[in-house]
Amino acid sequence: MIERDPAADTSGDLRAGAAQALDASASPARLLWRRFRGHHLALGSLIVLLLLAVLSFAAPLLEAWTGLSATRVDLMAMNAAPSLTHPLGTDELGRDLLLRLLYGGRVSLTVGLVAAVISAIIGTVIGIAAGYYGGRFDAALMRFTDGVIALPLLPLLIVLAAIDFTKLGLPEGLMTSESASLYRMILLVSLVGWTTVARLVRGATLSLKAREFVTAAQALGAGNARIMWVHLLPNVASPIIVSTTLSIGNIILLESVLSFLGLGIQPPMASWGNMLTNAQELIYANPMLAVWPGLLIFVTVIAFNFLGDGLQDALDPRSGLQR
């Protein structure tokens, strides 16, 4: 049984919201920041993620300053314990583990952010078009979306990851370059990652298009494209932002799984996933090799999830009442 009345539970929030609304000097952005700041886990997550991003993308600088290398094989220092020169020790080939982790972070964060944005764009286009035009077009697009959602994602991705793109007529140079596995990863994840945004945007568009401001715009002679771009898109921005943030974590997980299975990011390029591939065989020799990359994936993904949760509360104050 509920001991407390939910309405009483949230009256404090309501009063706070009213006080914020009365504060005339507050811009929407500042109000947003104020609400977000109150969500301590999300704020902490943002700081952790920024720190991780700065360190990861500064990895080449750190490499130059310290004289260590993330790629140089040093057979005299295999599986070394943590020391001053190697803060986290070395891996089975004597490479500095910390630097390799930072390089892995570059790859994981890049794949996560880029693929999430591409997925969001695909999902938004499909969702707005389906919701706005409605009818058979909507039904066809949504059945297609349902179909994609229902598929066993990982087995399919494994086959997709093995596909030989030159058979599709893509230039061989593009697919054999060093970053090919990175591009391929982003492409694959974007292909399957758009479904959540598509459904959210469609739902929001369906209810928005019946509103007066859309009718007014139509009466004033605005074209379909203009209505979707100028009138509908800004109104569905909040759910898109929240769901994209939440999807970054899932994408990083997916990337790490595929890389772990040897089908994602290819060595010598380091990613948190492929660093764990060998770790399983080295459990006895150097168990820490299996701990660090996984821990970083875990921390990054949970930080993105907290961040998305906090953004949701900040962007949609009503959702806070329902928690």
């Binding site: 049984m1 509920i2 001991e3 939910p6 539970d9 179909g147 959602i149 229902a150 598929l151 066993p152 994602l153 990982l154 087995p155 399919l156 494994i158 086959v159 997709l160 093995a162 596909i163 030989d164 058979k167 599709l168 974590g249 997980l253 790490s256 799984v257 772990f260 299975l261 040897g262 089908l263 996933g273 764990l276 770790a279 399983q280 459990i283 006895y284 168990p287 299996a290 701990v291 990359p293 996984g294 994936i297 875990f298 993904v301 949970i302 999830n305 907290f306 949760d309 329902q322 928690r323």
Partner: protein, 317 residues
């Protein structure tokens, strides 16, 4: 209701048919083809031999013709031979499908046994210490890389404590039921931990939504016991969205099983698909993928039927 079932069955069959074509085309895009493999095995083959072989196996035909040939053979029960196992692919896959269903089934039941009480308890005491703890645990559960969790389980329970075997399905020379169960523990725990966080969140959200409804207030006002309000009024309604999510989640469970099977050497379908893709075993990869898809579609179908059965407001037309 009957016409609804028939309609959904036909729909599922159509989706499976479309998927079989897409999967067939995708497998065709995997590197190399069977003739390349023969050339590797026998360097004496000339270019004319290769051409002749291509013709013999119909590989020079357009995609649609090849698919049609495959489909007519498949409908008669002939899915071709597995390169890796030198057996008809059906003979390879049937027992493995069973192994996967055992793994998934156990993990599914264990997840429910954890998620239902945890989600309900959290939903009835929002923002309490218990709710926060459950929430944090669920967040951790959806954020942890499943394969890493499996490796940690191996380090802890197989390497350090030596309670359970690290991989395989039976010990050599053993193979009794107890031995098999002993090997099943770690994979099931790994798969459960990877999925249970998400399910807890769904249960909690659905339960909170149900508890906000007017009929709950009515039930309480009537003086019904706490247990009755929770179970027959709130839970029954909360189960409707949960069942749908659970079935949609079946696709994720099949995906998760692939990771678990690969790491623990569990001879299931996921591991077979993975091995087949890496080993260029086209026939096996094709059928394995089809089985995985069919399993997921079947779960979705069952969910829709359960949905219709649980919620009398839905009309079937």
């Amino acid at each position: 209701m009957l016409s609804y079932i028939v309609q959904r069955l036909v729909q599922t069959a159509v989706v499976l048919f479309v998927m079989s074509f897409i999967i067939y085309a995708m497998i065709g895009l995997m590197p190399g083809d069977p003739i390349d493999l023969m050339v590797q095995a026998d360097p004496d083959l000339t270019a004319e031999d290769q051409q002749r072989l291509k013709q013999l196996y119909g590989l020079d035909q357009p995609l649609t013709t090849r698919y049609w040939n495959w489909l007519t053979a498949a409908l008669q029960g002939d899915f071709g031979y597995s390169r890796l196992f030198a057996q008809p692919v059906l003979d390879v896959l049937w027992p493995r499908l069973g192994n996967t269903i055992v793994l998934i089934g156990c993990a599914f039941l264990l997840s429910l046994a954890i998620a239902l009480p945890a989600g309900i308890a959290a939903a009835t005491r929002p923002r309490s210490l218990l709710d926060n703890a459950v929430n944090l645990g669920a967040f951790a559960g959806i954020s942890v890389p499943p394969f890493w969790l499996a490796i940690l389980l191996i380090i802890l329970f197989a390497v350090t404590l030596e309670w359970f075997p690290a991989s395989g399905m039976t010990d050599p020379g053993e193979g009794g039921l107890l031995d098999q169960l002993h090997h099943l523990v770690l994979p099931v725990v790994a798969l459960t931990m990877a999925r249970v966080g998400g399910i807890i969140r769904y249960v909690r959200a659905a339960m909170m939504e149900a508890l906000r409804q007017d009929y709950i207030r009515t039930a309480r006002a009537k003086g019904l016991s706490r247990r009755r309000v929770l179970v027959s009024h709130a839970l029954r309604n909360a189960m409707i969205p949960v069942v749908t999510i659970l079935a949609l989640d079946m696709g994720m469970l099949v995906s998760g099983a692939l990771i678990t099977e690969t790491i623990f050497g569990w001879l299931g379908m996921g591991k077979t698909v993975y091995d087949a893709v890496l080993g260029n075993d086209y026939n096996l990869a094709l059928l394995g993928l089809l089985f995985a898809t069919a399993l997921t579609l079947l779960a979705n179908l069952l969910a829709d039927l359960a949905y219709a059965w649980l919620d009398p407001r839905i009309t079937y037309d």
